[in-house]
């Protein structure tokens, strides 16, 4: 699954604000298929990591309580360079995206 993450990093007054949108179903495993009545298997992002020039700035652990196509925004002190965002879900799928700080 390529290009499931959109990431933007902007710098202002020595602080970088990162905003990202990921494309993911985020199934809790509790919902049922309306037609068959069978439970839809859980499929959600478990871990999101964000690095600034190779330095870890944020690790997020998620459960099924995060909305479908998750949005994430956070801030950290720094300037320049690039920000890399990566996720791993409960099926072991993963993706990452990078944006240079503007």
């Amino acid at each position: 699954m390529a290009n499931t993450i959109k990431v933007r990093a902007k710098e202002k007054d020595g602080e970088i604000t990162v905003k990202c949108l990921m494309t993911h179903p985020m199934e809790t495993g509790l919902r049922k298929d309306k037609k068959t009545g069978e439970a839809i298997p859980a499929h959600f992002i478990q871990e999101v990591t964000c690095d600034h020039d190779g330095k870890r700035v944020l690790t997020a652990y998620w459960g099924g309580g995060v909305s479908k196509n998750p949005y994430l925004s956070f801030k950290f002190k720094g300037s320049g360079g690039s920000v890399k965002v990566a996720w791993v879900d409960n099926k072991g799928e993963s993706d990452s995206a990078e944006d240079s700080v503007s």
Binding site: N3, E47, L58, T59, K77
Partner: protein, 157 residues
């Protein structure tokens, strides 16, 4: 605004396509569920806010006025409730929970060096309840909550 909407449309389409692929993989492979070592399973499986706090390694939380939660008073769609947590405490981690959900813990953000006390995301809320933010600072847990009225639940199917 219209530009944003267009992007949102294409994103939604992408989401549907990705979902289909995910289902196909699930049906074909039946691969065992991957478990990340660091993922705090006990906290995510907890059925109450108190248990989730225990799962995060705390015995209880202290109410703090230094945490602010930005969330709508009334959420029309419980499937997408925007939540922003900000704190002036030197935070090590910020957890976001929805008290009325079957498993309250939605997300736990471990802040690295230089990260400010700010996270914003969107969570699901099954029904009306409190959004609880738990901030870990100096080894202690502080919390704040805000009630959100949900008119359409987000966990049904």
């Amino acid at each position: 605004m219209s530009d944003m909407n267009m992007k949102r449309r294409s994103l939604l389409k992408g989401a549907m396509a990705a979902g289909t692929v995910g289902l196909a993989v699930g049906a074909g492979l039946l691969s065992p569920r991957m478990v990340l070592a660091a993922w705090p399973k006990s906290a995510f499986d907890a059925k109450s806010v108190e248990d989730a706090v225990k799962g995060l390694g705390g015995s209880g939380t202290e109410a703090s006025g230094d945490i602010s939660i930005k969330a709508p008073d009334i959420a029309e769609n419980g499937a997408v409730v925007p939540v922003t947590v900000e704190t002036t405490l030197p935070a090590e981690s910020i957890a976001v929970m929805a008290s009325s959900n079957g498993t309250p813990l939605a997300a736990d953000f471990m802040l690295g060096e230089g990260a400010g006390g700010f996270v914003s995301t969107r969570i699901k809320m099954g029904k009306t309840g409190d959004v609880v933010a738990v901030v870990k600072s100096g080894g202690k847990l502080y919390s704040a909550s805000k009630s959100v009225k949900v008119t359409i639940g987000g966990c049904g199917g």
